[in-house]
């Protein structure tokens, strides 16, 4: 019996596979795209070589003073010499282990929350959220159990940036969720209070809030009663960001179909259990991108504390460039600051993508 043998498939046209195919599909698919590609390539060619020349080839990496920077490119010696100050601010160098320990405790303490098999995750998470801030404050500030006090005026650098961002996020998220719920509440008094609060704080720029907290507030307080500057900034940041979070969360709440509320009510759940067990888990999942967006902008906004004389990462760098021994190192400093900020913000956005994928259960397209 004669069997029919198929001819082997012809290879795809050479121009649609491999590098050439990819290029044709992605970069040169039309005359307009080709033009854009060429233009972009020209820009890269214009910018990249001098940048690499400056940042790497002509750069000085080792040394102790500005006299060691002889090559004409970037003087990374400055960053290297001041690295401790950029990370810890004026935190006494012999006590910096306390900052490191605080960070390690955060990493180790939070690690179990990322293990999928972990049991009683919620309970552990709650305990961590209650215990950790107390321990962190005790470690950073000291003052009891034999730890020397390090006043917040000596905090600075990346550490201060992280403290403001972490406290801001940890404080603003719960407050924001409560405000969002309050704004959608049936009780007029609560609704009015929440709307007023949100609209007030959304209506003023953060820079104004910080400025008021540091310039106006002390005038109203009795003499001698001085409120910690960092504390004032933290409260300002929390109140400000909670208004934004509230609006993001409210968007999520509105996206949940009414049937979900009714179903939960029909099952006999009260308000808090309905919100906690049915509505919020769905709503929060929906608004992850929005919340992370707010967090990223909060993290970057921390550098605004520069106007009230707190030494966050950016201000520490700025301050170091006023040392006569390192005058004129501003470019190196700002490039370094940009790099650090980018690493953190990129990390956050990657984590949010991961979180969205993990939690994407009901809305797969």
């Amino acid at each position: 019996m004669q069997t029919h043998t198929f001819k082997p498939d012809l290879p795809p046209p050479a121009l649609s596979v491999g590098v050439v195919g990819w290029l044709r599909a992605n970069l040169f698919s039309s005359w307009f795209n080709s033009l854009l590609t060429l233009f972009a390539a020209y820009l890269v060619w214009l910018i990249l070589p001098p940048l690499i020349q400056w940042a790497f080839i002509n750069a000085d990496w080792v040394g102790e003073t500005r006299a060691d920077c002889t090559s004409g490119g970037a003087c990374w010696v400055f960053i290297q010499q001041r690295f401790g100050q950029f990370m810890y601010g004026f935190y006494p160098s012999e006590l910096r282990w306390r900052v490191d320990l605080t960070l390690w405790l955060a990493i180790i303490g939070a690690a179990p929350l990322f293990i999928p098999q972990m049991v009683r995750k919620g309970l552990y998470g709650l305990a961590f959220l209650v215990v950790y801030p107390v321990v962190a404050y005790w470690l950073l500030h000291g003052g009891s159990f034999g730890l020397e006090v390090v006043p917040t005026s000596r905090w600075g650098g990346l550490m201060l940036t992280l403290v403001i961002a972490a406290v801001g996020i940890a404080g603003a998220l719960p407050l924001g969720v409560l405000l969002a719920l309050g704004r959608r509440s049936d009780m007029p008094a609560i609704r009015v209070i929440c709307v007023t609060f949100i609209e007030f704080w959304r209506g003023v720029p953060l820079i104004t809030v910080l400025f008021m907290s540091s310039v106006m507030l002390p005038l109203f307080l009795p003499e001698g009663m001085s409120f910690d500057k960092l504390m004032r900034a933290l409260i300002g940041v929390i109140l400000f960001q909670s208004a934004y979070i509230a609006e993001v969360v409210r968007g999520g709440l509105q996206a949940i179909p009414k049937g979900q509320y009714e179903a939960a009510a029909a099952m006999g759940l009260g308000y808090w259990r309905m919100m906690g067990l049915v509505i919020l888990p769905q709503a929060m999942k929906l608004v992850i991108p929005g919340i992370v967006n707010t967090f990223i902008s909060l993290f970057k906004d921390t550098s605004l504390v520069i106007i009230i004389g707190l030494f966050d990462l950016l201000n520490s760098i700025k301050q170091a460039t006023t040392d006569p021994a390192w005058l004129g190192m501003a470019t190196e400093g700002y490039v370094f600051a940009a790099l650090v900020f980018w690493i953190f913000c990129f990390g956050m956005s990657r984590y949010s993508v991961h979180l969205e994928r993990k939690l994407d259960t009901g809305h797969k397209r």
Partner: protein
Amino acid sequence: MKMVKSTLAILTTATVLGVSGFAQAGATLDAVQKKGFVQCGISDGLPGFSYADEKGNYMGLDVDVCRAVAAAVFGDATKVKYSPLTAKERFTALQSGEVDILSRNTTWTSSRDAALGLNFTGTNYYDGQGFLVNKKLGVSSAKELDGATVCIQAGTTTELNLSDYFRANGLKYTPITYDTSDESAKSVEAGRCDVLTSDQSQLYAQRIKLANPDDYVVLPEVISKEPLGPVVRQGDEEWFDIVRWTLFAMVNAEELGITSANVEEMAKSTKNPDIARLLGAEGEFGKDLKLPKDWAVHIVKQVGNYGESFDRNVGSGSELKIERGLNALWNKGGLQYAPPVR
């Protein structure tokens, strides 16, 4: 609404009461002695005047005032806590009692002295707006700057002074304003402007930032008066006197040839009655100020006389290399003059 209302109420009350009402004579010294340190408001970073080194120690001409006051009060120049303040915060911080002294390159003007409830105790640096030009231009006086493009480092009065000066001399110019000193330094270097104007003390710092500092020169003309000095709250004359005489002691020490190296020996063996009175070997002049007898010895020993402090922070011993100029002693052609201790 409620919040707005109560804020308004507080604002009104604060305005009615006035913010300067609460300083009482002697209160600051007592409070300082009780807490054991001087709280000093400084700049958040100004080359030569207040800046921090690698270890986080504050240094500079303004910082030295704080240290000298601590040395006078406690005999220990390290008993200072610093509050870095931005230009906008500085007066509030002093008025509200957050700091005891404000030593933050603050220009002494009539409105600040009279209207803010503050007192300037003296001048630790006579500054003034000046010009930095490239030597290539061949200009030796600001009067030759007709038609120049001027880079301005934005300040409170920089633009005004400049336009006044050029108008008074019938010169034309094109201004370009920058917000930060780094930007303006870069644009001078790139040749976007012929001349850079700012306070002279800052021009020297700017010059270091340039690739070839030796190609640039600061012109001799000073077009504005900017006497910078420490500030205290009005109404506490005792504390005012202490800060004022701390500065005078440093200037007097320089005039009398007392340095941190020879002060102790001088205090023991001097035959000069002026020196003996200043250093407490003769008379009880410290007691009048409610200070220890050897207050001036501690100041000079730990901080140095005015000339030493100047050289170390902004003068020949520093990177800035600012000439003494107006800040030389009165008998050497400058303006630094201190009344005698007698």
